[in-house]
Amino acid sequence: MRKIQLFLIFIFCTTFTVNFAFSQISTDKFILAGKKQLAEATDNWNEANIIKARSIFERLLAQKKEESLAHYYTGLADYRLASRYFISQDARAGQYLDDGIKNLEQAIKKNKKFADAHALLATLYGQKISLNPSLAMSLGQQSFVSFENAKRLQPNNPRVLLLQATSVYYTPEQFGGSKIKAMRQMQVAIEQFGKEKGTDPLLPDWGYEDALMMMATWQMESGDHAAALKFVNKTLQINPDFGWAKAVKDSLAKELKKEN
């Protein structure tokens, strides 16, 4: 009788473990697929493909697979879409920001030490303030605290540095922003991206191209087209498919030709 009991316990445990492992493999597979699709869509700045990538994470969450990473990548897709709609002054920017904030708060709830999620959340708070400056009193502080949390958790995380440098650059000077400080911080972020060695393919690894292109943009704004071109070339060196760099390179080359 005892042997039967032990056998049943063994069968139960084996079945549970196998099911759990299978389920985890399946979740990981979809996170990887979604992450790859999101990266490719971002390369081409393709709205439809960003939404398609987002839909993969949305399906994971609909199955009650409350994965911190699924929430994070949904938030990242929301950030990409909100940034796109923000430029075109589309009302959907606000909707994606709200959804992104909700997802990133969930990602942090499930993994408090998720520095990337803290930093991205801080950025989305900042974008909400850009849409509605009267929220600055409350969300400004939340944004500040989220950045502080991210830096405390991973001071050398290049995405944390990238997002904070971007925030500092676009914050008006009377509210503590500084273009010089931002460029210095972005330089550190770029150095950290160069050193980053991804150990877990599921974890965030985006941003190197964004950091380089931000610097290129800022150099262009300051009128240093040669320096800007260097950053564009560096971007294309690490990712020849990065659409933003490809688009900018031609116009930059023209500007430089005019200058010469």
Binding site: F30, E47, A48, I51, K52, R54, S55, I56, E58, R59, L60, A62, Q63, A91, R92, Q95, Y96, D98, D99, K109, N132, P133, S134, L135, A136, M137, S138, L139, G140, Q141, Q142, F144, V145, E148, P172, E173, Q174, F175, G176
Partner: protein
């Protein structure tokens, strides 16, 4: 194979919709024509989902047969109602960070003429009548006592500083002690009991996320505060102190001569917040304030000086936690202790009110379409009066006859409520609730059923309808045998409100009509203190137009306009000649305009962002003068040397129209890091208008003089600093 199309309510194809089976990953995202197509191998009963941001999620059960082709036409409807944070009841203004809020802390502190006071800022909103320069909230024809103030579930029984019969000069609770405010001018939820007209519910600051300090120095005082993180994410405290001394301010504005003791006040706040888990929190909030004033009063027989002081303390311990993921529980235990001392001639009266309260509120998100709220409260109030009062009301001379008072009377009220907020359709929500209250002195159970219906016609516009019964019990001392009437019943009001609301990114418009019927109101009575025979009504229309966003749009602000008609059955003082040498005061009763019948009330608040750092604003108010009962003649007392006034028809005259024009300007200067300093200046009552607040009669009532406002043209300057480190420059 599953194929189909997705369109919106106008049959316009919707691209980018995520269509998939909920129990698997098979799915597709619609193309530009709204078309989707995907295959599936799993058969049986399955749930197909279609999701797109800004639209209601679509779900449908489908039986998948092996090899079968399924063709679907899906219609997605835009999200117009979010159950989360949905306000179904009419007449509500909320503050916080949510979308669509109407009254933020920054609105309060930047409203010219509001002196950074929550109550004065709320007076610029519709439904609140402006009776004088004070901060009393007279809502839709109701008395100031018909508005209840709540902080973190605790009742703030005396919410005003420098109390007066019309409320007080300012509110007790400063805006930067609270993080959220809910104000309803009628039709509010069953959560709130023992209030006939309105509710102001505030939530104090939560756990500080970073250590910060603030310092303020103005013409009338100095204040400082700190938010201190003790254990990051776990334990923190807020500490603040405020000292108001008006000497310098009155000197500068040449208006101090009528004060024997210049208005002064001190207050302090301490709160400690302990977050013991992700969702659980204990908060201890303690507040104390003291105020004092002395005013010279016209009295023919002696040099009269009125002195008044108040001491107000509030202690509240609140626990909140999620009992389950969808169940929020909040419970608080509070004590509000108020003590005042007033002296004028023979009057020397000390009042002490203690209110103990235990309250619990439970909020359950039962389903995606239904929230259930329930809770209860026990409130025990003790009123104490001691001191001397004149034997004859009008003889105040220190040598005149007096009565000694020493009254203590307590009352217990027990109340509980339950309500459900149901999303009947994607665009219709219903709030149904019931509350019951028992009061031990009236020996009465009262039942308040209330209902509100919200219909969102479009994403931007909605209609609201609210109906409900509201009860309020008189203060305990009113039941005391002798000065009061032990047989008093609860006062009762019925609210009917119909409102329309339109809001988009740029502006908000709200129109609300209301009818409020009163019964069992208190009426003055010569022998029993008061009777329950009062009745009346208030009906009107409130309009509100808010334009632009603070700090975003160069011009922003709001206009509110209210029109009201209100009548009550009221007491009129008469004189009875009982014998040749005895005259006594008595009452007759008549149906007449209520004392709060301010026919129209217009407020215009405009703020101009002249540069990102410099703002200028003004507030202009105009309101019909309040009704007053004139004294038409007087009879000399046969024994004592004073006159008994004979009143004319109740509220048959009105004070002149009230006008006030206030301006303010602020300059924001950033310092190192996130530190900043804001310089501010205000010029109140810029036209120096002498608004009439009442009439003062001569000793024989043969002549009268208008009593005008204490607030003549008035300048105020100061600065406030906020900093997170002491490395400022």
């Amino acid at each position: 194979m599953v194929t189909g199309t997705v369109a919106d309510q106008n049959n316009k194809p919707l691209p980018f919709v995520n269509v998939f089976f909920k129990d698997g990953f098979e799915g597709d995202v619609t193309d530009s024509t709204g078309y989707f197509e995907f295959s599936t191998t799993k058969t049986g009963e399955r749930i197909l989902t279609a999701m797109f941001i800004g639209f209601e999620t679509y779900e449908r059960k489908i039986t998948v047969q092996p090899g079968a082709k399924i063709k679907l036409t899906i219609k997605l409807l835009p999200t117009v109602l979010q159950t989360e944070g949905m306000t179904v009841s009419a007449s509500a203004f909320t503050s916080g960070d949510e979308k669509g809020v109407t009254l933020r802390n920054m609105d309060v502190v930047t409203t010219p003429g509001a002196a950074a006071d929550i109550y004065l800022a709320i007076q610029t909103y519709p439904g609140v009548s402006k009776l004088d320069d004070g901060s009393g909230l007279f809502v839709r024809g109701g008395d100031v006592s018909e508005t209840v103030t709540i902080l973190d579930q605790a009742t703030v029984v005396h919410p005003y500083r420098w109390e007066s019969p019309t409320g007080g000069v300012f509110g007790t609770i400063a805006p930067f002690l609270v993080r959220g405010t809910f104000f309803s001018s009628g039709g509010f939820s069953v959560k709130y009991g023992n209030a006939l007209s309105a509710v102001l519910a505030m939530e104090s600051l939560g756990l500080p996320e970073q250590t910060s300090y603030n310092f303020n120095l103005g013409l009338a005082g100095i204040s400082a505060g700190a938010a201190q993180v003790l254990v990051p994410g776990k334990l923190g405290m807020h500490l603040s102190g405020n000292y108001i001394a008006t000497d310098l301010m009155f000197k500068l504005n040449h208006s101090k001569e009528e004060f024997s003791v210049l208005p002064n006040s001190q207050d302090g706040n301490f709160s400690l917040i302990y977050r013991y888990s992700d969702s659980g929190q204990l908060k201890f909030f303690a507040f104390g304030s003291r105020d004092e004033v002395g005013v010279k009063v016209d009295q023919p027989s002696f040099d009269a000086v009125f002195t008044g002081s108040g001491l107000n303390r509030l202690y509240n311990l609140q626990w909140s936690d999620l009992l389950r993921e969808n169940w929020l529980s909040k419970t608080s235990l509070s004590l509000n202790r108020f003590q005042s001392e007033i002296a004028l001639g023979i009057i020397n009266l000390t009042q002490r009110d203690d209110t103990y309260k235990l309250r619990t509120d439970q909020e359950i998100e039962a389903t995606k379409k239904m929230n259930i709220n329930f809770g209860g409260e026990i409130e025990y109030t003790i009123n104490r009066f001691s001191g001397t009062v004149p034997a004859y009301r009008v003889l105040l001379d220190p040598n005149s006859e007096f009565f000694r008072l020493d009254e203590k009377f307590g009352a217990r009220r027990v109340g509980f409520y339950g309500e459900s907020v149901i999303k009947l359709r994607r665009d219709v929500a219903l709030n149904l609730g019931l509350r019951r209250d028992h009061h031990n002195l009236s020996r009465q159970w009262v039942t308040d059923p209330r209902a509100s219906l919200l219909y969102s016609m479009t994403k931007h516009s909605s209609m609201r309808f609210s109906w409900g019964i509201f009860h309020q019990f008189a203060a305990p001392i009113s039941y005391a045998p002798g000065p009061g009437n032990p047989n008093l019943q609860a006062m009762r009001a019925q609210h009917i409100i119909l409102g329309y609301d339109y809001r988009n990114e740029k502006y908000q418009f709200r129109a609300e009509s209301y009818y409020k019927k009163y019964d069992h109101l208190l009426l003055a009575d010569a022998s029993r203190g008061s009777l329950n025979d009062g009745y009346g009504f208030a009906g009107g229309l409130d309009l509100f137009f808010k334009y632009g966003e603070l700090f975003k749009d160069p011009v922003n602000g709001w206009i509110s306009y209210g029109i009201i008609r209100s009548k009550r059955y009221q007491a009129r003082k008469i004189v009875l000649q009982k014998s040749p040498d005895m005259i006594s005061d008595s009452y007759s009763y008549e149906y007449a305009p209520s004392p709060f019948d301010i026919t129209y009330n217009l407020t215009i608040v405009t703020k101009l962002n002249l540069t990102p750092q410099f703002n200028f604003g003004f507030t202009y108010r105009i309101a019909t003068g309040r009704p007053v009962t004139p004294v038409v003649s007087a009879v000399k007392d046969p024994v004592y040397n004073f006159y008994h006034p004979i009143e004319g028809a109740v509220n048959s005259e009105r004070l002149p129209t009230y006008h006030r024009f206030d301006t303010s300007a602020t300059y924001y200067q950033p310092l190192k890091g996130s530190n900043y300093v804001v310089f501010y200046a205000g010029l109140s009552n810029i036209t120096n208008r002498k608004n009439v607040l009442d009439y003062d009669y001569s000793i024989d009532y043969s002549t009268r003089e208008p009593r005008t406002t204490n607030f003549s043209r008035f300048i105020y300057i100061g600065f406030t600093m906020a900093f997170q480190s002491f490395d400022l420059f």
